[in-house]
Symmetry: C2
Subunit: 326 residues, 2 copies
C-alpha cells in the first residue's frame, strides 16, 4: 500500500510517519511506499520500503496533480497554516488552507474520472469549526459557526470532503481534532500553548506561565491518540460512517485545575510549584470562545478512542517523549 | 442609495427589482441607482433613477471588480446554478455557485481595503444546506450536512459570508430561503415543482400532476414574503444579528394534504379535482430528504415574517399573479 502524508514535517505528520514506519503497516495493512510532502522537505524516515520526499506547497498549481500521479492508496491531509497565522495573513490562510485543500481534492477527482482511482482521504479538521457561544458538551449535530478564518477554512474543507465523497471521487473522512496536549517541543506563542506548557515544562524542572484561572475548561487529546484517530480513520468502513463524513473526535474535557492536580499526582508538589500564575485578560477572554467538550457519540460508536484522565495524558507524554521515566 | 442585484433576471431578482422600483426605496431608504446583473441582460425596469443593465457571469475574472467599481451601497447576491443543474454539471455548479460568490466577496474585500468601502451584502442561501436525516422542526443550531453539490456550495458561501463580515470587509446577511410557493410561470422539471404546480395550475383551470402522497411535509414561503426577507435583511441592524450571519428564514410547514385543503377552501372542489395523482417512487424518496420545517427562532426575533396558512399563500398568488380574482 502506498501512503501519502501532506504536512509530513509537522508535529502530527512526524508522529504519524514514525508510527507507520515502526509498524510497517496501518491497522494490519502493509505499507510499502511512503510519499512525504511538506513546504520544507520532511526528514527521511528509516523505512524498508520506498520513500518519496517532496518539498512542495499544495496550493502551487501542478503540485497536487504530481502527488496524485503516483495514485497513493491513502492520503493524509494534515497541512495547514495555523490559526494565528491564518488570522494575521488573510491571503495566505485562504490560499493554503482552502485553495490547497481544494486543489488536492480536485486532483483526486480528475484522476478518479480518468481511471476510477478512489483513495481514502483523511482530513485533519479542528474543533475551531465551532464558535462561541457553545454548549457543554457540544452534540454531534451542533452547527459550525467558526470565529476565525482558520476555522472557516477547515469547515469549508469538511463540506468539500463530504460532497466529493458523496460523488464517489474518494472515500473521505474528516476528523475534528481536540487540542493536542501535551504538545512536545518548546513553549510556542499560540494563545492555547499554556495547556501544554504547564505540564511539559514542570515535568522537566522548568517554570511555566499560566495566564488563565484554574476554572477554564477545554478539550484535550494526547499526540498518541491523535495519531490513533488518523490511523483509525484511514481504515474505518466508510459505509458505516454514512454521508456525514466529518466527525468530532473523542477527547478529555478537563479544567486547568484538574490538569494541575493530575500533574501533582504524577510528579508531586515540587512540579506544581513551577507553575507561575500570570493572569492575562486577553487570553482568558479568548478561552471563553474555545470548546469545553464534546459528546462525540458517533466517533465513539465508530471505535475512535482517547484518554480518560489527565494522569493518562501525562503518562503518555512521559513514555513517548521522556523515555518512560521522570 | 445605489443597489446592485446579481441574478436580477431570475424569478426573485425580477420581483425584488419590481418592488424596489415601485417603492423607490428599501424600507424607507431612497434608491436612486440600480445595477442589474445576470448572465442574460435583465429587462430594463421603468425607474426614475439611473439603471445599469449588465449581462455578465460573475465567475468570469474581472466582472466582480467591474460591478464593485461603482461601489454599490447594497448588493443582493441571488445568482446561482440551481440544484438539479449543479448536480448534473459538477464544474459549472462549483464555478458559478462557489467561485462566483468568492470572486464577488473578494472584489468587495479588495475595495474595502482600498478605501474603507463596506456595503451590505445579502446572500440568498437555501434550506438545501441541510441534509437528511432531519428533525422536525429543525432548530437554529442544527448542523449543515448538505446532500447535494448545490447545498454544499451554498453552505460554503455562508461560511465565507460570515468570515468576511467578521473581518469587516462587508456587512453580510445570509438568508436560507424556504421553497418558494406558489412559484409563478410554467410547470418546470424541478423535482419539487409539484408543490407549486398543484396549486397554480388548478387555479387557472389546468390539470396538475401530484407525484407524492398527501402526507409529505415541506417548508414554504410566498414569493412576496421571500422578497420581504431580502429587503428586511438589507436594512436590519447587523449588530443585533451578531457573528452568526446566516439565518434560517421563517416559513409555513405544511403537508401536501393541507395544501390541497387550502386550495379547496379558496377555489372549490372543481379546482381540487384537477389534481391528478401519479405516484412517483423516486420523487417520493427525494422528499424524505427535504426539510419538513424550521424553528426559525432567531429570524422571527429579528423581525422576518412569513405566511401563517396556505390559504394566505394562495391569496398572495391570486393578488400578485392573477390580478386579484379567480
Amino acid at each position: 500500500m502506498h501512503v501519502a502524508i501532506i504536512g509530513a514535517a509537522g508535529m502530527l505528520g512526524r508522529k504519524l510517519t514514525q508510527r507507520i514506519v515502526a509498524e510497517g503497516a496501518i491497522q494490519g495493512r502493509a505499507v510499502d511506499r511512503l510519499t512525504l510532502l511538506d513546504v520544507i522537505a520532511p526528514e527521511a524516515p528509516k523505512f524498508a520500503g520506498h520513500v518519496d520526499l517532496r518539498a512542495a506547497d499544495l496550493s502551487t498549481p501542478g503540485e497536487a496533480e504530481a502527488l496524485v500521479a503516483a495514485r497513493p492508496d491513502m492520503i493524509f491531509h494534515l497541512a495547514a497554516i495555523v490559526s494565528a497565522e491564518a488570522e494575521l495573513d488573510f491571503d495566505k490562510g485562504y490560499r493554503i488552507n482552502l485553495d490547497g485543500t481544494r486543489l488536492l481534492f480536485d486532483a483526486v477527482r480528475l484522476a478518479s474520472q480518468q481511471d476510477g482511482y478512489r483513495p481514502r482521504v483523511v482530513f485533519a479538521s479542528s474543533i475551531a469549526v465551532f464558535g462561541a457561544p457553545l454548549p457543554y458538551p457540544i452534540p454531534d449535530d451542533f452547527h459550525t459557526t467558526p470565529l476565525t478564518s482558520y476555522g472557516t477554512q477547515k469547515a469549508i474543507g469538511e463540506l468539500l470532503l463530504s460532497d466529493y465523497s458523496r460523488r464517489g471521487f474518494f472515500d473521505g473522512i474528516g476528523i475534528r481534532l481536540p487540542t493536542v496536549c501535551i504538545r512536545p517541543g518548546k513553549p510556542n506563542k499560540a494563545a492555547s500553548g499554556f495547556f501544554s506548557n504547564i505540564l511539559r515544562e514542570p515535568l522537566v524542572g522548568q517554570e511555566a506561565v499560566l495566564p488563565v484561572p484554574d476554572t477554564v475548561r477545554h478539550w484535550h487529546v494526547s499526540p498518541r491518540s491523535a495519531v490513533g484517530f488518523l490511523l483509525h480513520a484511514a481504515t474505518i468502513d466508510v459505509d458505516a460512517v454514512g454521508p456525514r463524513r466529518n466527525l468530532s473526535m473523542p477527547g478529555l474535557s478537563a479544567t486547568v485545575g484538574e490538569q494541575i492536580e493530575a500533574l501533582r499526582r504524577v510528579a508531586g508538589d515540587k512540579a506544581v510549584a513551577l507553575i507561575r500564575r500570570e493572569p492575562d485578560a486577553m487570553i482568558t477572554r479568548m478561552c471563553d470562545g474555545w470548546a469545553p467538550g464534546f459528546e462525540a457519540t458517533r466517533a465513539l460508536a465508530l471505535g475512535f478512542t482517547a484518554e480518560a484522565s489527565f494522569d493518562e495524558i501525562i503518562r503518555v507524554h512521559i513514555e513517548d517523549e521522556l523515555g518512560g521515566t521522570l
